[in-house]
């Protein structure tokens, strides 16, 4: 018997309409756990670098994590992986909700799609019965609406549905996959789903998920259950309220938005509005939210209430979480009423709430600058909010200028030319980032922005404080019960880290300490993404219930696979290195590893180069950021090093690469 996992994947060929149930190799679980780890392995094996995102040979994987469907609190993430049409590297975007556990209960760990369906279809998985069904009647329907329509036509209210909206159907690079209160939004995976002619996947499962050593496992779960309320009642002092507790930022619960509105940038990540927040605005925004928010809600088996049901009068109900509350509002220089209203339409269209508002603000900046003209924007309203609706409608339909903008700021700027490139200024690896512009370089964030494989800061930051505490007393207080650190030295780094003076940024934490801090934070994300744990209970907040000291016992008692901290760290490193190698094979090089252009005002080119050099070395990569033959072999990834050597990307003596390919050139 297989424990925690089911041991079966579904392989769907959409071109031929074939469905296969395939037993998986338990050896791969021991090497990669599951989720993102095994997704990366499958992508490495099946998608050579010449495959374009919209090729029928690109695959789209919907995966559960290893612990999804077990009683491990918060293990509910679906990990979707494919090639991003925007970055041309591996896209992996994740969503919470109920989909992954339901797939486990139906008896599968992953659903792997290849090929393209000639007509729009959806997949219906009902335990052992799996069928590809016609979805032509769902064409153009909203994502939330589609979920409901499918449940109705299947007469199965308990089915869990993940669906794309019009944006995905039209291969918009910001297209998301929506599922109830959750969405897998980043890197354009909804566009790949649309390209494959797949409107939705509905799942219903009524089978058991087994645990290898039940008594031990439940005791660990109960410890987490006991810790969560204690941690919740003891927010970390000295950090901003939304980051002081557990879960993803509590945007649906809080009303005080002074920090976001005054520290994040408005418009196309340009304008900082110091002094914006006042009593009058707080009162108005509080009313706006209370008028539309009917209930705070959770994902499967999680007590954190990070999401909300939003009912805006006159439009259909939808669900929201996290920072999407403010992205449209701030991009359009508008208010919260507008934010909730346009987010309803955007959610039905199925678009990423990070990138999309920025793309629209970018277009309006180009218009103000005269780079886009009235000829490009025929019929655009004159008011800012009207313009946002107008642009959103055109982008998801790929109409006129919308067709250009639908590729995101980087590719749109290339196409528009005439200096537009300067306006696509807030990207990493061609992907739009949070609207943040800061002063002093933070060495930890520099490395995370540069080297994160997902090009998304929330996917790598987390367990280490974002900034130094003001006083020694605060620092001592913070480290007192900091059991989550892998090593005592991390406490020293916090104790010695000061806002000003010798031990302050950018030279403190030291280069060596910075490498260790980044590596630890990233490792926790890679474990979460392999086991399907929500980062909100693990790698994202300070002092979370899951950490490197209890994870091995969790995984081991659930699966029966022996594991200690060193072995788990090695698996995380293997998965992380495999992702890097996959992207290296697609052209990723050191030159691509830069933070958003003007993210920090004060830059230190020499220090930055040293940081990258040191971090690459720490990771076992060469000066170009390519994993060396030795480090690949040490991670049982000999087949990867052989492939890289054969392609001339890695030379036998591990020197710099002999062949330069850049991702930019690859795109037709």
């Amino acid at each position: 018997m297989r424990y925690a996992e089911t041991g079966f994947n579904l392989e769907i060929d959409l071109s031929r309409g074939s469905i296969e149930r395939v037993a998986t190799d338990p050896g791969l679980t021991e090497l990669h756990l599951g989720g993102l780890g095994t997704n990366a392995k499958i992508l490495w094996d099946r998608v050579p670098p010449e495959i374009e995102p919209f090729s029928p040979d690109n695959i789209l994987i919907f995966s559960t994590g290893l612990l999804c469907g077990t009683p491990a609190i918060g293990a509910n993430r679906t990990i979707v992986s494919t090639i991003s049409p925007q970055t041309l590297f591996m896209a992996y975007s994740m969503m919470g909700g109920f989909w992954a556990p339901e797939l486990k209960y139906a008896g599968y760990d992953k659903v792997i799609f290849r090929g393209k369906s000639p007509n729009l279809v959806y997949l219906w998985i009902n335990n052992d019965n799996v069928e590809i069904r016609d979805a032509s009647h769902l064409q153009g329907k909203g994502a939330v609406e589609t979920e409901d329509l499918i449940r109705q036509e299947l007469k199965e209210p308990k089915a869990q549905v993940a669906a794309i909206g019009l944006a995905g159907e039209n291969r918009v690079y910001m297209a998301s996959i929506e599922h109830g209160r959750s969405s897998a939004s980043r890197l354009g995976i909804g566009a790949v789903m649309g390209d494959k002619g797949l409107k939705a996947i509905a799942v219903r499962g009524t089978k058991d998920v087994n645990i290898a050593r039940p008594a031990e496992f439940m005791e660990l779960c109960n410890e987490v259950l006991k810790y969560i309320p204690v941690r919740d009642q003891n927010p970390v002092p000295g950090v901003m309220p939304i980051l002081a507790g557990l879960g993803s930022p509590k945007e649906m619960a809080i009303h005080d938005e002074e920090w976001h509105t005054e520290n994040f940038m408005w418009g196309n990540s340009r304008v900082r509005r110091k002094g914006f927040w006042n009593e009058e605005i707080e009162k108005k925004w509080t009313e706006s939210m209370e008028n539309v928010r009917t209930r705070l809600i959770s994902c499967y088996n999680c007590p954190m209430k990070c999401g909300a049901i939003i009912s805006v009068p006159g439009v259909s109900t939808y669900m929201m979480k996290c920072f999407s509350k403010l992205t449209y509002t701030m991009a359009a220089f508008s208010d919260l009423d507008f934010g909730f209203r346009i987010a309803q339409r955007a959610t039905e269209y199925g678009v990423d709430a990070f990138s999309t508002p920025q793309v629209m603000a970018f277009a309006l900046e180009l218009y103000e600058a005269g780079i886009l003209t009235d000829q490009d924007m025929p019929g655009m309203p004159s008011d800012n909010e009207g313009r946002f609706y107008w642009l959103l409608d055109r982008i998801v339909r790929r109409e006129g200028i919308g067709d250009v903008l639908a590729d995101g700021t980087h590719w749109a700027a290339q196409q528009i030319g005439n200096g537009a490139e300067e306006y696509a200024h807030n990207n990493i690896k061609k992907h739009e980032q949070l609207p943040l512009k800061l002063s002093m370089l933070n060495p930890i964030y520099f490395l995370m922005y540069c080297t994160g494989e997902k090009a998304n800061i929330t996917q790598i930051e987390g367990n280490f404080p974002q900034a130094p505490f003001a006083t020694r007393e605060e620092r001592e207080e913070f480290v007192k019960d900091w059991i989550q650190v892998p090593d005592e030295k991390f406490k020293e780094y916090v104790l010695n880290w000061e806002p000003r003076g010798e031990n302050s940024m950018p030279y403190y934490p030291t280069i060596e300490a910075t490498c260790e801090i980044v590596d630890w934070q990233e490792m926790m994300h890679y474990i979460d993404d392999a086991v399907g744990m929500c980062a909100g209970l693990s790698s994202f907040p300070l002092k979370p219930p899951y950490h490197i000291h209890n994870y091995p016992a969790f995984i081991s008692s659930a699966t029966g696979i022996d594991m200690d901290e060193a072995e788990l760290s090695q698996i995380a490193k293997r998965n992380r290195t495999l992702l890097r190698a996959f992207n290296v094979r697609r052209g990723l090089r050191r030159a691509d590893e830069r933070p958003p252009e003007d993210h920090w005002k004060k830059r230190f080119p020499e220090l930055e180069a040293q940081l990258l050099d040191a971090y690459y070395k720490f990771k076992g990569w060469n000066k170009e950021g390519i994993p060396t033959k030795e480090s690949l072999q040490e991670l049982d990834l000999d087949y990867v090093s052989e492939d890289l050597i054969q392609r001339g990307i890695l030379t036998d003596d591990e020197a710099t690469p002999s062949k330069e390919i850049s991702a930019e050139k690859e795109r037709k």
Binding site: G69, T70, P71, I73, F98, Y105, V144, D148, P157, G180, R181, G205, T206, K207, D208, V209, N210, I211, P214, A215, F217, M218, L225, I228, P229, T294, R295, L296, I297, S298, C299, Y300, N301, C302, P303, K305, I309, S311, S316, T317, M319
Partner: protein, 181 residues
């Protein structure tokens, strides 16, 4: 026949639908507790508590399994509470032919909440323990119930004879027997 009043402990799970966050941890842990061996597997389809939910209507109702019923109701009601329309079944605890709740998925046999009965007893049923938002809380309340007086064997025997021969005949017979001494 009237008996004496007697006090009895009633175990109750109080359900506050406004506090439900829809996470369904109650379903998961219930099915894990009732697995054999305990916690060796879980499967919400085997759970004796289900959250009836329609997120877009803001409907979340945790219902725990009650009695099996062989037949479904002939008519159905709708309740409108705070502007939300609930099907009568949303509050019904029966394992019933009209729906797939509270039935073993393999055998179809009915499931019923047993308040996680165990020796030694748990402080609270598991679903309550795992509901950190107190949508489910556990209560023990004392209720006065009328106790039926236990009847003696003789009376039960006589009653059945009376049913067969009639009470008059029994009286005659008893009189005759007593005269004979």
């Amino acid at each position: 026949m009237k008996g004496e009043k007697k006090k009895k402990i009633v175990k109750a799970i109080k359900v506050d639908v406004d506090k439900c966050n829809g996470c369904r941890a109650c379903e998961l842990v219930c099915s894990a507790f009732h697995a054999t061996p305990k916690y060796s597997s879980n499967n919400p389809a085997r759970s004796r508590i289900r959250v009836i939910h329609e997120p877009l209507q803001d409907i979340y109702v945790p219902v725990f399994a009650g009695e099996y019923t062989a037949a479904e109701c002939t008519g159905r009601d709708k309740y409108v509470i705070d502007g939300k329309e609930y099907d009568e079944c949303a509050f019904c605890r029966a394992s019933c032919p009209s729906r797939d709740l509270f039935k073993e998925p393999d055998s179809g046999l009915p499931l019923k909440c047993d308040m996680c009965e165990e020796d030694p007893p748990l402080e609270e049923p598991l679903c309550v323990q795992w509901c950190l938002h107190d949508a489910l809380t556990y209560e023990e309340r004392e209720e006065e119930v009328e106790e039926e007086v236990e009847r003696e064997k003789l009376e039960i025997g006589l009653e059945s004879l009376a049913n067969e021969y009639g009470l008059d005949k029994i009286i005659d017979t008893v009189a005759r027997m007593s005269q004979k001494g």
